[in-house]
Amino acid sequence: MFPKRGYAQARKGNKMANAQFTVGDAWRQRFLSGMDLVRRFAHYDLPRVSESNLDLDQAVAALNSLARGRFQTSDRLDERDQGRPPAPTPPPQIDISARYCLFALNALTAKGEFVSSPTGGICFEDPFWAVLSAAALAQKKATALPKAGSNEELWRNSSMVNEAVRAGDYKESSFFQEIKGWISPAEFPTYETKVVRGEQLAALRDRGFQTLEGTTPPRFYELFTAPRS
């Protein structure tokens, strides 16, 4: 079972131990809010999991299933089935000495191709954006990198996604930048969890990209990119 208080379960040599999402317990709510929006605009028959039962392995499996198109279409859901919309939230405070859990996607971006360091892909601090990126990939749209001018704007944009979906004019390209493929030798999208130090997450938030330690050599990741006119 997933431990209480938002802490990631210990696994793979305790790498995930004592790491939590910056939104703490609310990660499940953020994740399921994204899933509910996807159901609404894509009409997918996604796995239905109650908030109290959602664990990290299920979340990663759902992201990969969604991004790789392994879902079943269904009739449009009734209005009463819609979940709670994502609540507007400012960026959570970060303790630079703490360890945080992120979702990571093995996407090759333009910046990732340009830099000299090995490329890690895209990080998602907010589970909501991980779900929406997987849904964009499921639509066969090569878009997965959140567009935002700043970290604050990235968090604010989740409510704009909600408004766009409910207004029926949601477009992936409005909220996600194109990617160039998958980091070699991968041939399909893979989501996984990644643990970073608070200090590194703060740097990642600051510019939207950062090389994260934890592997040798360190790898380059992106969190968001400024929209291009």
Binding site: A110, K111, F114, S116, S184, P185, T211, E213, P217
Partner: protein, 182 residues
Amino acid sequence: MCPTGCSTPKPPSSKAPITPPVIATCAESPPYEPAKWNSPPVINSTNCYAYAANDPNGHPPGKPQPGQHCGHPFTKVDCASVGAASVCDGMIPAPNPPTPRPGYYPVALVMDPGVDYHWYRQGNDGTWSHKPGNTAARNVDATGDPITNPEAAHRDYSPDGPNYSVFCGYYYVPQAGIRTGP
């Protein structure tokens, strides 16, 4: 004093220093050959480090990393760690400005601390060129100007890329190049 095959261009006036300073040219440096580097599979399997090391062939898709070949890759994105890893692979620290060294050509290491490193190499015409990541080799800086001195070149690619604001220093590479990557 330049070794055989190398020459230091004279400034236009002995009293007027050149800004930025022109660094000695060396016939022992590799020529600028973008066609050799900018086609698959080389373009997708090399980066600035392989380019600086003049090591285009035989790499898997990706980016050879400093210290990877000698078994001690860099652990931090800073001048000390990347520089040490490159020396482990066979580069030799050089003075600033680099004086001509027979059998070697100069390369330069720059840094966006915590974000990314980058290398430039001097060609046999005295100008410098580079290959950002898996993109094309080029002989111009971030603003499109020819590179006569990597320390003075524009190295800010933001917001579309890193800002290599820190100049770490020069290194020598054997004329035959060094092997990089796994």
